[in-house]
């Protein structure tokens, strides 16, 4: 809501020295969100004066007709002689009063006025249009002022109100009353403690009940319905300058007198009005809900199918308005309208809100109805409108008006007088609550010797329904600054959960290993999945979809973290970084196959039952937390120390292991084939479950993710550097697999090391050989490490030699050579049995 301060002053006796900024600060303290204080016209400077056109000389030798005018500007030009001005507009005549910018003046947008020769004449200034003066948008010609505005030579800036402070208020949904000058003025009067003149206090004109016939079908949709009218309206009558100016300052474009008047009264009082051409109405009006299949072409030339929830204004021809939202095209007033019917109504907020959403029509009118309009304002607003139409449109106000009153009395609210003080945690003197509640317009009755207050809020405050609403009124008017600061005293806390600590540990571990964290948007498109080379039926293509994505190409929610990381990688490479290691930790969003079509919405007047809660949880998608990493270029750069080392598949696996270690679990690796990874360079990652649950005493394992080099087609699709590697693991599953940490036994007896070289078929994964060695070596094995892989003539084609260092140690003795050798032999035997390994000679 844009509020010109001079307009506000019409209703409030603000002290003369109150500035826009000062007023804004006080209103902010009182709860109105004043966002800016603009000074309209601040950029108009220098001599801008009234002038009277004395003579017009038509210059016809140019492409378009031009006028050379002699204009009386009084003594404003220093000589008292008429000023010669060339003008291209034609909407004025000799004797008209106009606005002249003399040389030296500057108009809106830094437009400097000087003397110059144009069309063969010396033009000493300019006759101004409304646009040039920043009054309102008008390209029809120059401004012709009404007689009596002032004398030639008089300063125009003050006379026409060219410079004006305007408050821009972001009206919160609870303060619909502030969408009017009347509402803001009432608050301003309260905070300054000065008088308020209510513009709605106007005496009704004419006889109630004798207006245009109307009925309301249901008080639930409309509690008050008022019709008033005028006859003999002059469709050509001009809107007075001041009204146009005020509308323009509030951001409303002036159109015609009839339209301008309805807008003006809406801005003044907050009551949306509608105007019909009475000649186009057919029979009595009925306010009712729409019937299935009804249609209406609205003012914006859109033919709309109406919903049975829409409130309609109808006559014998059918629907003529979507109530409170938009009028119909058929009954619109136009430039031939001489009889006007004005509608002022109170429609039910929720119906208007739904209709506005349904038809995607948000109007000044629907905005006000949604937030709640004063329930008793309608007669006054209609009266204001017809009086203005009569005054400026030469019309006669009808002798009677229609007033359908279906309103019910407002219920009162009982609160403890000290409730506001208890909510604030502050000490307020006795009587504080009643005093402020009365100040905002409530009726307050004190009961139980003043300990309880019975409060009836005013009709313009539909938001005041609960004791805390009343508490807020008292606390804000008493001043939020009066609330003391008392540290909260929480019971002893337990700190972070294991899961929360693990996440921090994982982040630190990956950052410590050289990865830079990324927080990418979770929005994807099918193109991302195509780029990842996911098969048509891949589970990851089964996504949640946004109904209203920001970007139509990316309506899907991520089921993998990789696309966001890959795009960020490409962006960094594009910015000149060839060696990039990134990670991201975040949720993926997985649809539940058995989720209901629509999430339930249990009532809110009590807590949900266990069943309701379970149904809600069943509808909420599965959202596990993942961590993923990508690497491209060198893992270790080249430098003066020697050559660099490019990132390879093993770095991706190691990053996953790093995550596992931070989460307290050891990952097992097995070859796998899965998009988007290279089919020969892809590892499946497992955690071994704590619970031993299969027959041979081995532990079961859970797949937690994949790592390796990306498929060349993925590299190409995303434009990635060659050999980019990536990993993705599910953190939630790592956390589940984590077991309690136990201190290891640290033996101080000497170690016995043994090296073995085993020859296996090239297809045998080293991981399997290692597992077999560990299993065979038994409890004496302290550690095992693969230190060499050899392929070549010496081991024969299709075979490889794996060299391991085994370290044995006992906790209670020094091992003998025989014990060590036996353990080693057992390890080799196990490897031979499980993998066909042969001890190399």
């Amino acid at each position: 809501m844009r509020v010109p301060v001079s307009w506000l002053r019409e209703y409030v006796d603000l002290p003369v020295d109150v500035t826009g900024r000062g007023l804004a600060a006080r209103l902010i303290d009182a709860g109105l969100e004043v966002e800016t204080v603009d000074e309209a016209g601040a950029d108009i400077t220098g001599p801008v004066v009234l002038g009277r056109v004395l003579a017009i000389e038509e210059l016809s030798e140019f492409k378009k007709p031009i006028r050379y005018c002699r204009v009386d500007v009084g003594t404003a030009n220093g000589t008292g002689e008429p000023q010669g001005i060339v003008c291209g507009a034609r909407n004025f005549a000799e004797g008209d009063l106009v606005v002249v910018a003399l040389p030296g003046a500057e108009l809106s947008g830094g437009f400097a006025i000087g003397s110059r020769t144009t069309y063969g004449r010396l033009s000493e200034g300019m006759i101004c249009s409304a646009t040039e003066l920043g009054l309102w948008e008008d390209h029809e010609g120059i401004v012709v002022l009404p007689e009596g505005t002032g004398q030639p030579g008089a300063e125009a800036v003050g006379l026409l109100g060219l410079r004006e402070e305007v408050l821009d208020i972001a009206v919160t949904p609870d303060r619909g009353y502030a969408l009017s000058m009347r509402g803001v003025a009432r608050d301003a009067a309260a905070v300054y403690g000065v008088g308020f003149r209510d513009p709605a206090e106007v005496a009704a004109i004419g006889t109630p009940g004798a207006g245009y016939p109307a009925t309301v079908a249901d008080p639930e949709i409309c509690s008050r319905y008022v019709l008033h009218g005028v006859s003999g309206f002059d469709p050509d009558a001009a809107t007075p300058l001041w009204m146009k100016r005020r509308l323009a300052l509030t951001g409303v474009r002036p159109i015609s007198l009839a339209v301008d008047v309805t807008n003006y009264v809406m801005m003044e009082l907050g009551q949306p009005l509608h105007a019909w051409d009475r000649g186009k109405l057919r029979g009595p009006i009925e306010v009712r809900l729409a019937r299935k299949g009804e249609k209406l072409e609205t003012l914006d030339h859109v033919k709309r199918t109406l919903d049975p929830d829409d409130i309609l204004i109808t006559d014998e021809s059918g629907p003529i308005n979507i109530a409170g939202v938009m009028g119909g095209l058929e009954t619109e007033i136009d430039m031939t309208t001489i009889d006007v019917v004005i509608e002022a109504a109170h429609f039910t907020a929720t119906h208007i809100a739904r209709a506005s959403r349904r038809h995607q029509l948000s109007s000044e009118s629907s905005r006000r109805f949604e937030r709640g309009v004063d329930t008793e304002l309608q007669v006054a607003a209609a009266t204001r409108a017809v009086a203005l139409l009569a005054e400026f449109g030469g019309a006669v106000v009808d002798g009677g008006y229609t007033h359908v009153d279906l309103s019910t009395a407002r219920e009162s609210i009982a609160i403890d007088a000290d409730h506001p003080a208890r909510v604030a945690g502050a000490d307020y003197p006795a009587g504080t609550s009643a005093r402020w509640l009365r100040e905002v317009g409530c009726e307050v009755t004190e009961e139980a010797s003043g300990e309880t207050l019975r409060v009836t809020p005013p009709q313009w405050r539909p938001d005041l329904t609960d004791p805390n609403d009343l508490a807020e009124e008292v606390i804000r008017l008493e001043g939020y600054g009066a609330i003391p600061s008392v540290p909260p005293r929480a019971p002893a806390g337990r700190g972070l959960t294991d899961s929360q600590r693990t996440r921090r540990a994982v982040g630190r571990a990956l950052a410590g290993a050289g990865f830079v964290e990324v927080l990418s948007y979770p929005f994807l498109g099918e193109r991302d999945f195509d780029g990842l080379q996911l098969a048509a039926g891949d589970q990851r293509r089964s996504t949640l979809k946004l109904a209203n994505p920001l970007n139509d190409d990316e309506p899907l929610l991520r089921t993998t973290l990789l696309p966001g990381l890959l795009r960020t990688l490409v962006r960094n490479v594009g910015r000149g970084f060839s060696d990039v290691a990134l990670f991201e930790m975040g949720l993926v969003y997985l649809p539940k196959p058995d989720a209901p079509e629509h999430a339930p919405m249990p009532p809110v007047d009590r807590g949900p039952t266990a069943e309701e809660l379970a149904a809600l949880e069943a509808a909420v998608p599965h959202q596990p937390r993942r961590v993923a990493a990508v690497l491209a270029g060198d893992r270790e750069p080249a430098g003066w120390w020697g050559r660099g080392r490019p990132a390879i598949w093993a770095d991706a696996i190691e990053a996953a292991r790093e995550v596992g270690r931070a989460a307290g679990v050891e990952l097992a690796v097995q070859a796998d084939q899965r998009a988007p990874w290279h089919p020969g360079r892809c590892a499946a990652l497992y955690v071994v479950n704590n619970v031993v649950d299969n027959m041979d005493g081995g532990a079961s394992r859970t797949l937690v993710g994949h790592a390796g080099e990306l498929h060349p087609r993925v590299i190409q699709a995303y434009g990635l550097p060659a050999r980019t590697v990536a990993m993705e693991v599910e953190l939630d599953q790592l956390e589940e697999a984590r077991s309690g940490l136990r201190a290891p036994e640290v033996s101080t007896y000497p170690v016995a090391a043994q090296d073995v070289a085993l020859v296996v078929e090239e297809s045998v994964p080293s991981g399997e050989v290692e597992q077999a060695l560990r299993a065979g070596a038994g409890e004496l094995l302290e550690s095992l490490r693969l230190f060499d892989v050899y392929t070549g003539e010496q081991v024969g084609g299709g075979r490889k030699s794996l060299a391991y260092n085994l370290r044995f140690r006992a906790g209670d003795r020094t091992l003998t050579v025989e014990e060590t050798t036996a353990a080693r032999d057992a390890a080799v035997a196990a490897a031979a049995e499980r993998t066909g390994a042969v001890l190399r000679g």
Binding site: P173, G425, P491, F515, L546, G607, P608, P637
Partner: protein, 372 residues
């Protein structure tokens, strides 16, 4: 060894003559002093202190003397040998030191050479600043609560007193999820961390003291100050006898912990459906402390010369919210706040453009390291 004696007289054993012993000693000491390397000193050691050195040989002759003369001769030769051994040791030390000095100088390196061989990583500053914000409250005894990012509308709106047709609900610029059939699903990307309030209240019995950091979503295009994905830190306290004064105390503790111990805060009346009364929270500008207000010569970029910086919203939990979460409003009351993580980062560390926080440029993130 010695020539046959003309008479059996100890003084006749030449090598044991005082002059002769003195000469051998002098020769040895001179050779030691002349040795200019450890190798030469080794030769000198063999020649003058070895088994076959003159003094060693002389020592053997002592046994040939009559007992009466042995003591004196032994003392004489022994003294000389000690002196030689000592001189050798001293010279050894000197030469070793010289060698060490020479070698260590030769081994000197350019310690200013770069060693960026181990790549450096970093955590995102939004992650670390959110942790810091969280930890201020954890230090006060709060727990950290969590909730899903794709949320049922009931949690995101209804239970928080955003009624279905209330304008506040449509003002939230919500991302809605489509049902598989294409219709409405009743699911949204949460528009704030406030649904965690409801989850925390359903999970726990009062007293409840929780904070909930997390991602939130609104349909705002990315620009310098907006992002469709952003982060909040929610706070919720529900206990007996809770007032706005405690809320103020908690906000003050946060501001003092994050920005400076003596900064003032202020509440401005506002509106949120889930709190009543509601307030926007401003803190005193920690850069100019209000000095820039009305002083065009010393403008403040941090607060835009307003003197105050908006950091979030807060209020007394609307009893309707407690009711929807099954809390006894006759016994308990509470308050809640929502603080912007991006705003906190922007102000605390001078980040000026939201793009920097979302683009993932490694130069931006690396500057913040592991912790903020």
């Amino acid at each position: 060894m010695s020539a046959p004696n003309s008479s059996y007289d100890p003084v006749e054993v030449t090598p044991l003559q005082p002059d002769e012993v003195a000469r051998m000693r002098e020769e040895a000491l001179a050779a030691i002093a002349a040795a200019d390397s450890l190798e030469k000193l080794k030769e000198v050691r063999i020649a003058h202190a070895g088994d076959r050195s003159p003094l060693a040989l002389a020592n053997r002759e002592i046994g040939a003397l009559p007992p009466s003369a042995r003591a004196e001769a032994g003392k004489r030769v022994g003294g000389a040998r000690r002196d030689v051994a000592e001189a050798l040791k001293e010279r050894q030390t000197v030469l070793e030191e010289e060698r060490d000095n020479r070698v260590l100088v030769e081994e000197a390196v350019d310690v200013t050479l770069p060693w960026d061989r181990v790549p450096r990583g970093a955590r995102h500053p939004l992650t670390t600043v959110a942790e810091r914000m969280t930890d201020i409250f954890v230090g006060m005894g709060f727990e950290v609560a969590e909730g899903p990012e794709t949320e049922a509308e009931w949690f995101n709106f209804d239970a928080l007193n955003f009624l279905p047709d209330h304008p506040a609900r449509t003002m939230q610029d919500t991302f809605f999820l489509e049902a598989p059939s294409g219709g409405e699903s009743g699911l949204v990307l949460r528009t704030h961390t406030s649904p965690v309030q409801i989850r925390a209240l359903l999970d726990r019995e009062p007293p409840v003291y929780v904070v909930a950091p997390g991602k939130t979503f609104r349909t705002d295009e990315l620009d310098a100050t907006h992002s469709p994905v952003f982060h909040q830190l929610e706070g919720l306290v529900v206990d007996e006898g809770i007032t706005m004064a405690h809320l103020r105390g908690a906000i003050d503790a946060f501001v003092h912990g994050m920005f400076g111990a003596d900064l003032r805060t202020r509440f401005r009346p506002s509106y949120f459906p889930f709190t009543e009364p509601s307030a926007e929270v401003d803190m005193e500008c920690f850069v100019c402390r209000g000095a820039s207000v009305g002083d065009p010569d010393a403008p403040c970029r941090t607060c835009g010369s307003e003197g105050w910086i908006e950091i979030g919203g807060c209020g007394v939990v609307n009893p309707r919210v407690l009711t929807a979460a099954g809390v006894d409003t006759g016994r308990y009351s509470g308050w809640a706040f929502g603080l912007g993580v991006e705003r906190t980062l922007m102000f605390a560390h001078g980040v000026e453009d939201m793009h920097d926080m979302v683009e993932g440029d490694i130069r931006f993130t690396s500057a913040f390291g592991m912790e903020i």
